[in-house]
Subunit: 194 residues, 3 copies
Amino acid sequence: MPDRRSLGPAATAGVIAALGVAVGLAGDACHVASGTTHYDWHALPTIWRSVLWFPLLLGGAVLLAAWLGRRAALPWVRGRDRADVAAGAGLVLALYALTAALRHQPMTVSVVLTGSLAIAIWAWWDPSPGTLAIAIGAAIAGPLAEIAIVAAGAASYAPDADGLAGVAPWLPCLYFAAGAVAGSLWSAVGGDGA
Amino acid sequence: MPDRRSLGPAATAGVIAALGVAVGLAGDACHVASGTTHYDWHALPTIWRSVLWFPLLLGGAVLLAAWLGRRAALPWVRGRDRADVAAGAGLVLALYALTAALRHQPMTVSVVLTGSLAIAIWAWWDPSPGTLAIAIGAAIAGPLAEIAIVAAGAASYAPDADGLAGVAPWLPCLYFAAGAVAGSLWSAVGGDGA
Amino acid sequence: MPDRRSLGPAATAGVIAALGVAVGLAGDACHVASGTTHYDWHALPTIWRSVLWFPLLLGGAVLLAAWLGRRAALPWVRGRDRADVAAGAGLVLALYALTAALRHQPMTVSVVLTGSLAIAIWAWWDPSPGTLAIAIGAAIAGPLAEIAIVAAGAASYAPDADGLAGVAPWLPCLYFAAGAVAGSLWSAVGGDGA
C-alpha cells in the first residue's frame, strides 16, 4: 500500500497476530472441508471449521516468528512493505489451500509440488540466509508441534495423509513458506518506524 | 517487451479487446470442457467451445475496465509495460483454468484458493486503492451480469457450482483478479504515448 | 543469494547440470507416481523413480540451453542472480509436478493451465525476444526428443495423455518454461565473472 505511516509495537503485533489467525482459519477450513484433518477434541468453541485453540496457536506462532525475526535484526535482502504482505499472505494461504486440493494425489506429487512452490516463495520473498534459517526452523518446529497435538488426541490427519509420524509429509513445506514470510513481517507491517 | 513504441488509441483499444477475447475463449473452453458451465442457447455461431456472445462480451468488458482506469487517471503504484501484460494475462488465464481444474473440490477449498491467489495477483500487479476499487467493482458487476445471463436462460453452471444465485461462488474472485489487471491495461499496452 | 562470488566455467557447468538432474528426477518421480509416464526399458539402473538415462539427458539438455544462451550473448532484459535461480527452478519444477497433478483433468484444462503459467514464467523471468526464441526452441526440440524416445520403446505416456504423437499435449508448455529459465542460467549461476 502506498500508505507508509508507521504503526506502534502494539498495533503491529495485533495486525500480525490477526493475519495469522485469519490465514489459519481460512486454510484450516480447507483442510477440514477436504477431509485432510479432523478435530477429535471439541471442549472449546468452534469458529468457522476450527476449534478455538488452532487459530490462536497459529496467530501466536506467526507473531513469535515475526518477533524473532525482528529481534535477530536479520540482514534482509529485500525491503518488504504492506503491499508485499498482502501478496505474501495470499501466496501462503494459496499454498495452504492447495495442500487441501491435492488430497487424493500421490504423496510424491503433493510433496514435490508444495516443496517447489515453498522454495519459490522463499526465494521471491527474501532470499537471505537469515530468512532461510527461520523458514527451516518453522519447517521443523511446526510439524513437531502438530505431531504432539495428534499424539495428544486433539486432532488427526486422514489415514492417507499421516505418513510423517501422524501428520502430512508435505507439512514441513507449508511451514517453510509460512516461516519465510512471517520472519520479516514486523518491519513490513509496522512500516518505517517499526 | 523491450519495444516501447507507443500505440495510438484505436490500436491500443484493439489489442486490449483482442486480449479479452483470447483469454475469454481459452478460459471458457476450460469451463465447458470440465462441465463447469453449459450453453443453453445456441442461435449464434460457436467459436472453439464458446457461443459468439461470450467472448465479445468479455472483450468489451475488459476494454471498458481499461478505459475506466485510464479516464480515472488512477494513481498507480507500479508502472506496467507490455511484458507485464503477458505475465498478468497469463496469470489471470491460469486462475480461470484453475477454477475449471477445481471442479470437484469442496467449495470451501475452491473459494479460498482462488480468493487468495486473486489477492496475490492484485498485490503484485498494482497494490493501489484505485486498482482495488476497479477489482472490487469487477467482482460485483461481473457475477451480477452472469447471474442475469443464467436467469435469462442463455447459459448455466453445473448443479454443484451454482451456489451464488446460479453462478459459482468463486466467480467474484476470478473477476477481482481480472479487473485488477484490466484496470491499468491502457497505458501498459499503449506504451508511453497512451 | 547475497553471495556474488563468481564461479569458474567448470563449476558453473557442474551446478547447472546438477540443477537439471535434480529437477528432472523430482519432476519425473511425479509423472511416474501419477501414472502419466511409464518406463518400458530397464537395462540401466533406476534412481528414485527414473531410469538413469532420463536425468542425465535432462541435465545435459539444461546445460546445452544455458551454453547456447551464453554463446548467443542474448540481450536479456533482466539481470538474474542465484536467488532468482532458486525461484525459477522452483517454479519450473512446480509446473512439472502440476502436470502430474492434472492427470485426470480434461486435456483442454491441462493445456490452457500449463500454457498460461508457462507464458507467465517466461514474462517474469526474462521477457526478451532472445529468451522467447530459446523457449520456443525448447518447446519444439524437447517434445520431438521425447516422441523419438517413445517411438524407440524406452518409455511411454498413459493412453489418455499421449495425444501429441505419443507424448502429452501439454509437454511443449513445460519445455517452453524450462527453456526460458535455462537459457540465461549461465550468468545467473556463474555470477558476475561468468
